[in-house]
């Protein structure tokens, strides 16, 4: 029996979400009194793999296959399911990011496993296996019982945190057989904005809404984000109006994020918006309307005009940094 966790790397490097996954699954394996097996796929150095041992990874299976440097969900699901079977996994876990969303459901079907997406904490019970997750985009929690012998979970980011637990680590190199037909995916072009803080990864997010009054007024938002090293985001009306790209829309139908600090400027806080940000550790709201619903979910509030408050805040953060 074992817990198998897939730790994704990005061009051979892990991120905090990978360490969080290892921290979580180590604790879970202890709770279930079983072993943890970490799976890494694609080209990666031993040194990078060893970083996982800081968080309790004592056994890593590295599928160091150059063909798998580009993530193809079918191939990754095949590899993970094969390893899960070989290791008699009773639980398979991965991070709830774009790739986890694409791979985990496929693994669940291959293993005939019940699956729960975006769990936030350790199971409330192991027998029966019950986990807690957000539902209705954060308006409520649900407790889900998984009745199958094998289970698949994805772990929501930035909920469990990192737990240091240094151990000795064994690394096995594995070369699973994969049907070569599954590799056929033809990427014709790729554009990536370099040096941009990725919204779903960001520790800090500066978000703005209709209170900005015009798409030409975004400079103060961007300046504050620059000082904080934050990603920029926006509310739904702003992206619907085309003031900002859809990529920036946070809320129930946009991105659901959980940064450490979320600053909402000129956002009233409709229920659908709050659904996308409620897992943030700390929320700051700036709004002219003291009755705006955003203040009922915020930790700190400033009543005032964003065009006036944002530059002051930028200045204050800049001063405190120097």
């Amino acid at each position: 029996m074992s817990v198998v966790a897939f730790a994704k790397n990005w061009n051979g490097k892990f991120k905090n979400s990978s360490y969080e996954l290892v921290s979580y699954t180590k604790e879970l394996a202890n709770q279930m009194q079983t072993n943890l097996v970490i799976v890494s796929i694609g080209k990666i150095t031993e040194e990078e793999l060893n970083k996982l041992s800081q968080y309790g990874a004592d056994r890593i299976i590295s599928v160091n296959d150059a063909r798998m440097n580009v993530l193809t969900s079918r191939v990754y699901a095949e590899v993970i399911a094969q390893i899960a079977k070989k290791e008699s996994a009773e639980l398979v876990v991965m991070t709830d990011n774009n790739s986890g969303k694409a791979i985990a459901p496929r693994v669940a079907v291959k293993l005939k496993a019940g699956m729960v997406a975006a769990v936030q904490e350790l199971p409330v019970s192991i027998k029966p296996f019950v986990v807690k997750k957000q539902m209705f985009s954060g308006k409520t929690f649900g407790y889900v019982q998984i009745n199958s012998a094998i289970r698949v979970l994805t772990l929501a980011k930035n909920c469990f945190g990192l737990v240091e637990n240094p151990v000795e680590c064994n690394i096995d190199i594995s070369h699973p057989e994969v049907n070569t037909g599954l590799f056929k995916i033809q990427i014709i072009s790729e554009e990536e904005q370099k040096n941009k803080v990725i919204l779903t990864d960001a520790d800090c997010v500066v978000s703005a809404g209709r209170g900005m009054r015009s798409p030409d007024n975004w400079r103060p938002v961007e300046e504050l984000a620059e000082v904080l090293g934050a990603a920029t985001a926006c509310s739904r009306p702003v992206s619907d109006e085309g003031w900002r790209s859809h990529e920036e829309h946070v809320g129930q139908t946009g991105k659901v994020i959980a940064p450490n600090l979320y600053i909402a400027a000129g956002i009233s806080g409709a229920i659908q918006h709050v659904a996308g940000i409620s897992r943030s550790k700390c929320i700051v709201a700036i709004n002219t309307d003291p009755e705006a619903p955003i203040f009922s979910v915020a930790d700190y509030g400033i009543i005032g005009d964003v065009m006036d408050v944002l530059p002051r805040l930028t200045e204050a953060f800049r001063k405190s940094k120097s």
Partner: protein
Amino acid sequence: MKILVCISNVPDTTTKVKFKEDNTLLDDSGIQWIINPWDELALTRALELKEDAGNSVNEVCVINVGGSLTEATLRKALAIGADKAIRIDACPSDAYHVAGQIAEYLKENVYDLIFSGIESSDYNGSSVGAMLAEFMNYSGISSVTNVNLDDDIVVSRAIPGGKQMIKTETPFVAIVQKGIAKEPRIPSMRGIMMARKKPLEVIPAAELPVLTQTVKFELPQAKGTCKMIDPEHVEQLVELLKNEAKVL
């Protein structure tokens, strides 16, 4: 070419959710049911592809796994412009069950392109599309923001901080997110009239296991009070974020 759009029937996104029977069941009194927002955008894109003279799309069908309650939502999809609707008569217990039911239908009825929304706004399982692709052994493309069927089939997808274009072949499952269509269509009076005559087929459920169940719901605790900062002294906020909230 035939397009199948998977439709989830969900409470309107402004709904304040409530529960009954000791928080074990959703209290559906007063809930207005809608087409899951991403599925509605997918349907819009499917109809655009059909209307585009250069494309050879000859059928857009919507499919839902649900009880008779969902027929109003399917009629709305027909009123928006879908050619036919299928309801698989089963309780949509979880993503595995729903994807499995749709896969059973697909094994008997061939579609070239299957649209599925990135998640449903109620249980947020975000798994039906990828599970369906796996059940059918199809390729599945996630985070899809556009599908073009001109000479080649070209799919745009969002990647962190950018976008990617992929050339693909049918059949495949497109798991779509916001951006796939500009905005959902509103049914016209003529569309509503025509929808009454369009086929809505009800088919029996396949025998499939139910692997998960939601045993209890819990509303989140109300947050503590919001500490107000004087806009003239925003440096106090910086202090609090550093020393009280410890998020800087």
